[in-house]
């Protein structure tokens, strides 16, 4: 298991409304991810909603792409990352 940063591009802008439909969308994504042993931790979105940076836990990059395909989410790049926090140094 490792942590990965996923970069995604949504040319038309990502739209996940904050209502029941949006919640259902997220739920579907989580379910789809589970099939590949992939866990969505959280995401960062640019103000224009055209790019996202998602933090995921997964066994390998291919599992993430598989889950992306299942869920209809684009995957530009998958990079393994570790956390670096200023507070580690105190």
């Amino acid at each position: 298991m490792a942590r990965y940063l996923i970069e995604r591009t949504f040319p038309d802008g990502l739209a996940i409304p904050i209502n029941a439909d949006g919640a259902a969308s997220c739920c579907a994504v989580v379910k789809g991810n589970a099939e590949s042993d992939v866990t969505w931790v959280h995401s960062y979105v640019t103000p224009d909603r055209k790019r996202t940076f998602c933090i995921y836990d997964a066994p390998n990059p291919e599992a993430i792409r598989r889950a992306g395909e299942l869920n209809g989410l684009p995957v530009d790049r998958v990079t393994e990352v570790r956390v670096l926090d200023p507070y580690f140094y105190w």
Binding site: Y4, A15, I16, P61, R66, G72, D76, V78, E80
Partner: protein, 877 residues
């Protein structure tokens, strides 16, 4: 063996506490299975947690609802009976099933018979296999076999096991992992809560303050304590069991001694011949609930109780009892007991002579049934006492044990044993067996990736029998040599030796060697580029299938796939590999299937099906039984994919691939790994680091005969700026690219169906349109990093209007169709035909057809009508 629910024998039957949710889950699985989707339920928990009790309650319910229940339990014998549970089940089921299984058919057929039984229409079947942690290899294979195939039956398979007895390398773990996740329910039984323990105590009319603390809520322990009654609480499970039996007198206890040494139960008639007693003592045992009566045999109420009692029987008494039981069983004739059971008692009686004659027999029986761990255990038992054996018998035992060890994956031990056997054969002057042993050592060396040792041993196998003229051993040794030469890419010699072996084998009517030699001849011819090589390989495949030589079928099929792949006929290779993989998966021949999938991953990479390529690669790498050599292809495929896409983990995969490939010394492996590293180095800016490696590999390839390996390595040298010229023998598209004829090269790649290579060639072209087309292909394939690197080069060259990326995919498009596909779907839903759609969108009819199939696939629709209906739903939903 189930306890009868006769209250006289079971004074403490009580309804289950805190198990209702598990019963509900069993019921759910049962109903799901009934709807035609077979299910597997795994019930685990510590010893004494009540797995059997739960299963008994459920099966009673199932039977009441009309289901048929088939039960078998795995043995606690020193070495379990091969296929013990399956035999028990067949015997209980009776009729045709029983007759067929008792005919002792070969293992595969036996499993097939069982599956037929389940697929027969009729009442729903519930299969129970208990104590799977003790399962012999044959039963493990049965669990894997059924687990994978129940999906289309109405059967429910329940397996129970003690999870506290499962070390990390326990073979059951592998089986549980192999059974598909989707159709498996896992129930893990917890200990009883304090409330439950108090309730049980209450029912027994006792109140024990410390009962919960001491027993930790283990149901068996609790029941034992409550049954013993009395003051105070026995400090351990063993004491609790002894306490219950404390009420019995000396002669009754002798009965317990005997029964405790014979898992799972002891027949009355055997008991009578080892312990003098009248019926009264037996009645007393049953009355106290210490023993239960099952089908005319006596057994302890629970395995824990049997163990507890067995530990109290002193050594010499145990020896005497074991000897008595053994005598009684033998006198009763051949069918009284299976040979595994006899071995169990012979071992307990420390009867070396009996062991020496029984254990090898048990080993052979187990081996024939595919229970290799058990066979190894039996042979090892015999070997321990083999000092008195004459040398050739001892050598035979060593060879048998070595064979089993290699089958269970302990190749080091297998080599050691075979070396010892070889010594003996040499001293006896038995050259035939010597040759066989050398071949065995060669095979083991090859598995461990030690090519030089494999070569040495094969040479020795020949030298030792050659002086004596033609023989089976010599033919086999020649064929083994041709295989060594084939792996070392000395293909011409490999063919020559293969033909010699073939002629001799045909003369001597040795089909196995004929098949083996044909495979080597065909494979070597294909390696040299002679398409006629396909004929001997296909003949080998056909013969192997006809004679039921499974290993050879797999070998021939894999050879066809691999060598066709070496010549870049990707689609044909993939077809061969598909068929072979299916053949192997059907027979649970996992290592061969994994080997095939590794190569198929590369084929799929080449044809542009990258998702499927990654699937194959990850499957192989995730599988525990893949020896290092099998990891090379999956690793290089993942390395290339990650490099092309810009994902992490590129060098992790490619460094390991190179290390393993180097050790095998096989050109095929080195020549496929190094180009992958060259490409990745180009993409990640590490050109200098691999330059030497690529040059060395290129030199190596030039000594070989495969134009593709020569071509690809020359190409990457050229790309890196080495002043290299296209070698004469380089494959056409690569030679064209090196000579600057990229457009022609791109055409060749396109005809071959290699989109990535086509795109590389296109972007090397001076023609801006061609370059843009190439870039577009990279985008389509998802080769992000390649697209970025190439786009930068193109911009520097002055090419403008570069295509930017794949079409928009937004989450609001639930079926994930591209814009064009949405348009096509729209027209389709309006009832337009393909030509009409083509006219409207001003694209070709072929393109429309392509879009329509993509749309149908994404929607999961079987027809245009279905797709139209789905489109309407999407619109309104």
């Amino acid at each position: 063996m189930r306890a009868s629910s006769n209250d006289e024998n079971q004074p403490d039957v009580m309804p289950l506490l805190e198990r209702q949710s598990f019963l509900d889950q069993l019921q759910d699985a049962f109903e799901l299975a009934a709807s035609g989707c077979g299910r597997v339920v795994l019930i685990s928990g510590e010893a004494g947690i009540g797995k059997t009790a739960l299963v008994d309650v459920f099966t009673a319910i199932a039977e009441a609802e009309g289901a048929r229940v088939l039960q078998g339990a795995c043995d606690a014998l020193t070495t379990p009976r091969p296929h013990g549970p399956l035999l028990d089940i067949a015997r209980a089921a009776g009729g045709r099933f029983k007759a067929l299984v008792e005919g002792r058919p070969e293992r595969e057929r036996m499993f097939g018979i069982f599956l037929d039984e389940l697929e027969r229409r009729g009442p729903q079947t519930v299969i129970v296999i208990e104590d799977a942690h003790w399962a012999d290899d044959g039963t493990l294979d049965l669990l894997r076999f059924l687990g994978r195939r129940l999906k289309n039956t109405t059967a429910l398979l329940i397996a129970t096991y003690r999870d506290d007895e499962l070390s990390s390398d326990h073979p059951l773990r592998g089986v549980l992992a192999d059974i598909s996740r989707a159709a498996v329910h896992r129930l893990r039984l917890p200990r009883l809560s304090e409330t439950a323990v108090q309730e049980l105590a209450g029912r027994a009319g006792l109140s024990h303050g410390d009962l919960y603390t001491l027993t930790s809520g283990n149901p068996f322990y609790v029941t034992e304590v409550l049954a013993a009654g009395g003051e105070g609480i026995p400090p351990s499970v063993q004491d609790a069991v002894l306490a219950r039996a404390a009420l019995l007198d000396g002669s009754a206890k002798r009965i317990l001694d005997a029964v405790s040494l014979s898992p799972p139960s002891l027949e009355r008639w055997v008991l009578d011949s080892v312990v003098e007693s009248d019926g009264e003592e037996v009645k007393a045992c049953l009355a106290t609930g210490t023993l239960v009566s099952v089908d005319g045999s006596l057994a302890f109420r629970h395995e824990l109780a049997r163990q507890a009692w067995k530990d109290t029987v002193d050594q010499s008494r145990a020896r005497d009892l074991h000897a008595g039981i053994l005598r009684a069983l033998r006198e009763a004739g051949d069918h009284a007991a299976g040979v595994s059971r006899l071995v169990h008692h012979a071992a307990g009686a420390e009867d070396g002579e009996s062991l020496l004659s029984l254990a090898p027999q048990a080993g052979a029986e187990a081996a024939a049934l595919g229970a290799h761990r058990e066979a190894a255990a039996h042979y090892a038992l015999a070997l321990n006492r083999a000092d008195a054996l004459e040398p050739s018998a001892r050598a035979e035992l060593l060879e048998a044990l070595s064979r089993e060890c290699s089958l269970i994956g302990d190749s080091e031990r297998a080599s050691q044993l075979l070396t010892d056997a070889l010594e003996i054969r040499r001293s006896l002057g038995d050259v035939g067996k010597q040759s066989e042993a050398e071949r065995g050592l060669a095979r083991l060396a090859w598995y461990q990736g030690d090519a030089p040792a494999a070569r040495r041993h094969t040479r020795a196998a020949i030298e030792v029998v050659e002086p004596l003229g033609d023989s089976r051993e010599l033919a086999r040794a020649y064929s083994a040599w041709s295989q060594v030469l084939m792996s070392a890419d000395e293909s011409t010699d490999a063919i020559e030796w293969g033909l010699t072996a073939l002629a001799m084998a045909r003369e001597l009517d040795d089909v196995e060697t004929v098949v083996h030699a044909l495979t080597n001849i065909g494979g070597s011819k294909l390696k040299l580029g002679d398409p006629e090589g396909r004929d001997p390989l296909e003949e080998s495949y056909r013969l192997a299938v006809e004679y039921g030589l499974h290993d050879d079928t797999a070998r021939a099929g894999l050879n066809l796939g691999e060598t066709t792949g070496d010549w870049r006929e990707a689609r044909r290779a993939e077809a061969y590999l598909d068929e072979t993989i299916r053949f192997c998966t059907d027979r649970d021949m996992d290592p061969y299937a994994l080997c095939g999938m590794g190569h198929r991953a590369l084929m799929r990479l080449w044809t542009g099906d990258w998702t499927a390529a990654a699937d194959d690669a990850q499957f192989v790498l995730g599988h525990s039984s893949a020896p290092p050599g099998l990891r090379i292809f999956p690793l290089l495929v993942l390395g290339r994919l990650r490099a092309r896409r810009g994902d992490s983990g590129v060098w992790e995969a490619l460094d390991e691939a190179r290390d393993v490939a180097d050790r095998t010394e096989e050109l095929q492996r080195i020549a496929t790994v190094v180009p992958a590293r060259a490409e990745a180095a180009w993409l990640t800016g590490r050109g200098d680091a691999v330059a030497e490696e690529v040059r060395a590999a290129h030199q190596l390839a030039l000594q070989g005969t495969n134009p593709w390996w020569i071509g690809e390595l020359a190409y990457w040298l050229w790309r890196a700026g080495d002043p290299v010229e296209a070698p004469e023998s380089a494959a056409q598209p690569y030679a064209l690219q090196i000579n600057g004829q990229s457009a022609e090269a791109a055409e060749v790649w396109k005809r071959m169906g290699f989109p990535f290579e086509q795109a590389l060639a296109l972007t090397e072209s001076d023609d801006a349109d061609a370059a843009r087309e190439g870039l577009q292909i990279f985008h389509r394939l998802g080769a992000r990093r390649v697209a970025d690197v190439v786009a930068a080069h193109l911009k520097a060259r002055g090419v403008d209007r570069l295509p930017r990326g794949p079409r928009a995919r937004t989450r609001s498009n639930p079926a994930n169709l591209t814009r064009r596909q949405e348009q096509v779907l729209g027209f389709l839903a309006d009832g337009l035909s393909n030509p009409e759609i083509a006219r409207r969108l001003r694209i070709s009819r072929k393109t429309v057809e392509h879009h329509v199939s993509a749309v149908l696939a994404k929607l999961g629709a079987g027809s245009r009508g279905e797709a139209a209906a789905i489109a309407r739903d999407l619109d309104s939903g």
